[in-house]
């Protein structure tokens, strides 16, 4: 086969040196490109030969789980700042659930599947709860909203929130001061039973009450 002089030169050169490169050029060559072998590092640290710094440590270098302490505010992570958090509420306005205890005198009420309206059969229980709360006028109450395990976790957190809210609204309509009632949703995350059948699901679709004397 005939070859041009350039082709011969190219072939000879290749026998000495060349690495084939194709379209989709590799990342910036390392300083020793053409001489060294270290090129595409699969990084534990920064990728060798890559343009920028590696993603702070790649697979091998993943940090151990951070402690439970949260560093608040502060500069954002690499690649873009995140504004310091607006707490979004007056400090101290949200009483921690940890300050509340189980309220023996206040009964749970339950909801239909995927609903957050108060059923008429539960109106009585709420009236009794309201009565108790009005005669213990300084007690704070926390209404927890829950959902059964069916459906998605995020939607169930929203559903639990609506259940807690309609319960609170109903108590307020019965004369309990809104300032005494806080709400929290646990979605499907804190079930009272786990049997995975309708009786259990019905139990989990609830508003639950705690008090702080």
């Amino acid at each position: 086969m005939k070859k041009t002089s350039w082709q011969t030169a190219a072939t000879l050169l290749s026998l000495l040196l060349v690495a084939l490169v194709v379209a989709g050029c590799p990342k910036q060559p390392s300083p020793t490109a053409g001489a060294g072998t270290g090129a595409e590092g699969a990084p534990g640290g920064a990728g060798a030969g890559a343009g920028g710094a590696g993603a702070g440590g790649g697979a091998g270098g993943v940090g151990t789980a951070p402690s439970g302490q949260v560093g608040e505010g502060g500069a954002g992570g690499r690649g873009g700042g995140l504004a310091s958090t607006p707490p979004g509420s007056v400090p101290g306005a949200q009483v921690s659930p940890r300050e509340f205890v189980e309220a023996i005198s206040l009964r749970d009420i339950h909801f239909d599947y995927d609903r957050y309206d108060i059923k008429s059969e539960h109106a009585k229980a709420l009236e009794e709860n309201a009565k108790w709360l009005k005669s213990n006028a300084r007690t704070l109450v926390l209404v927890e909203g829950h959902a059964d395990e069916r459906g998605t976790n995020e939607y169930n957190l929203a559903l639990g929130e609506r259940r807690a809210k309609t319960t609170r609204d109903y108590l307020m309509s019965l004369g309990v001061e809104g300032a005494r009632i806080s709400i929290i949703s646990y979605g499907e995350e804190r079930p009272t039973c786990k049997e995975g059948n309708e009786p259990c699901w019905g139990k989990n679709r609830r508003a639950h009450f705690l008090t702080r004397p």
Binding site: V18, G63, A65, G77
Partner: protein
């Protein structure tokens, strides 16, 4: 001709490789190979991946065997390749190679590797060879090095390169999946390689943590956490080992979703009376409200253009999927079948969404953006919480089909489901990372 030689020199990339048959054409169209194979009626490209050769030295950990196995697994997983692997290394001298290839009739491509070990450091030279022509034709030669502990990542990078050569789009083997697991007793956020290896626990606060969402640069994960007793939004930086509180409004702060440019975060707050969707500009802290309806609005997901957001709303009486523009206007309903359709996730390709629907049990469905082509992807066993791989070809999701919640993957048409976790507890809420830079 002169400029071609110059181009050859200028494009020196990876390192030394002795090439015995240099084609004049330095940019062989590997993607044409793949397209031609598909055009001929084959569904997958047949590739042979023998064990790597070891020119010298000991390999007590068996990397010459393990590395190509991982790469072979990645290429099988991709759905694009049919892999034959595990055989002894083939010779590299062209005549000997051609002879040895007689044992692999029907192979369209060959991936050869040569492994050198120096202490804790591995170096691999790979050659990718097209076998569809009269003569074996090298497509790519490249050198990789890594610490031994990062050998899996090296193998993933090799398979991603092979996918890139043939399809023009990088593979997704070098990605991670974040998810929630109760293995420790409490629901915490974890991360693993896409294939289930290298599990790392990212939160350890003993409360309830869920809904991880990767920022598009892959460096940050937003998630919902009760670590301060209320459902609030945090961001964790998995490669820096730290967290930051992001949103702590009264009520819920849930369901985070980053915009494609990484500058905004859509999520759900109930601070104004009931769960609505808001968008946070992360650099400035500025928030704007997207929905305004007395029911539940949640589960935001962005189109890849960032111009539209799909979400769940019960404004029609039951939870269904709606689409609005990124300002919240022009709301239209997307789903009409069944009484419960939630958790929409917009494909990175932009053309359709996958979502969770209850029609009997909970299953994953997909639908085109224009509402056509409604397709059921899973059939039974309770399946939810899908997340797209960055190439839009795979989905990761949670399924209870084995009796406990575990993480599964499948192709975007619902085929080839594979279990990815064998969690001691229950694994849910998966999120597929971007390609790791």
């Amino acid at each position: 001709m002169k400029s071609r030689l110059l181009a050859c020199l200028l494009l020196l990339g990876a390192g030394f490789f002795s090439v015995l048959a240099l084609p004049v054409d330095l940019h062989p169209q590997a993607s044409d190979v793949y397209l031609n194979i598909l055009a001929s009626g084959a569904k997958k490209l047949n590739i042979a991946i023998p064990e790597f050769a070891r020119p010298a030295g000991q390999d007590p950990m068996g990397f010459a065997k393990r590395l190509p196995e991982i790469t072979a697994n990645d290429l099988n997983f991709s759905g694009l390749f049919s892999v034959v692997s595990g055989h002894a290394p083939l010779p590299s001298a062209p005549d000997a190679l051609k002879k040895a290839l007689a044992d692999f009739p029907g192979a369209h491509a060959l991936l050869q590797g040569s492994l050198t070990i120096q202490g804790e450091k591995l170096m691999v030279e790979i050659r990718l060879i097209d076998l569809t022509g009269a003569e074996p034709r090298p497509i790519l030669a490249k050198v990789y090095d890594a610490q031994a502990r990062d050998h899996r990542r090296m193998a993933h990078k090799i398979s991603d390169e092979v996918v890139y050569q043939f399809t023009g789009e990088r593979g997704i083997a070098d990605t991670r999946i974040a998810y929630a697991s109760t293995a420790s007793g409490a629901k915490e956020i974890y991360m693993m390689d896409y294939d289930g290896f290298n599990v790392v626990q990212l939160t350890k606060n003993g409360s309830i943590n869920l809904s991880p969402a990767w920022r598009p640069d892959g460096h940050a994960l937003a998630f919902t956490s009760f670590q301060r007793d209320f459902p609030q939004l945090f961001v964790l930086f998995p490669y820096e080992g730290r967290q930051q509180l992001l949103q702590a409004w009264p009520g819920v702060n849930i369901a985070p979703a980053w915009s494609p440019d990484g500058e905004s975060l859509a999520y759900t707050l109930s601070k104004d009376g009931n769960p609505e969707i808001y968008v946070l500009r992360t650099r400035t802290g500025e928030i704007r409200r997207l929905t305004n309806h007395r029911g539940i609005d949640t589960d935001p997901t962005w189109s890849p253009t960032g111009r539209e957001i799909a979400f769940t709303s019960d404004r029609g009486g039951t939870p269904q999927v709606y689409i609005a523009d990124a300002e919240g206007a022009n709301v239209r309903r997307l789903t009409f079948e069944g009484g419960y359709s939630v958790q929409p996730r917009w494909s990175p390709r932009g053309d359709r969404l996958v979502y969770t629907s209850r029609q009997g049990g909970f299953d994953l469905w997909s639908i085109n953006v224009d509402g056509s082509n409604l397709t059921r992807l899973t059939a039974g066993g309770n399946n939810e919480s899908a997340s797209w791989a960055p190439n839009g070809r795979h989905l990761v999701f949670a399924s209870r089909r084995t009796g406990r919640w575990q993480i599964f993957t499948m192709l975007a048409d619902g085929s080839e489901p594979q279990q990815m976790t064998r969690d001691r507890g229950e694994a849910t809420s998966p999120a597929w990372s971007p390609r790791i830079p």
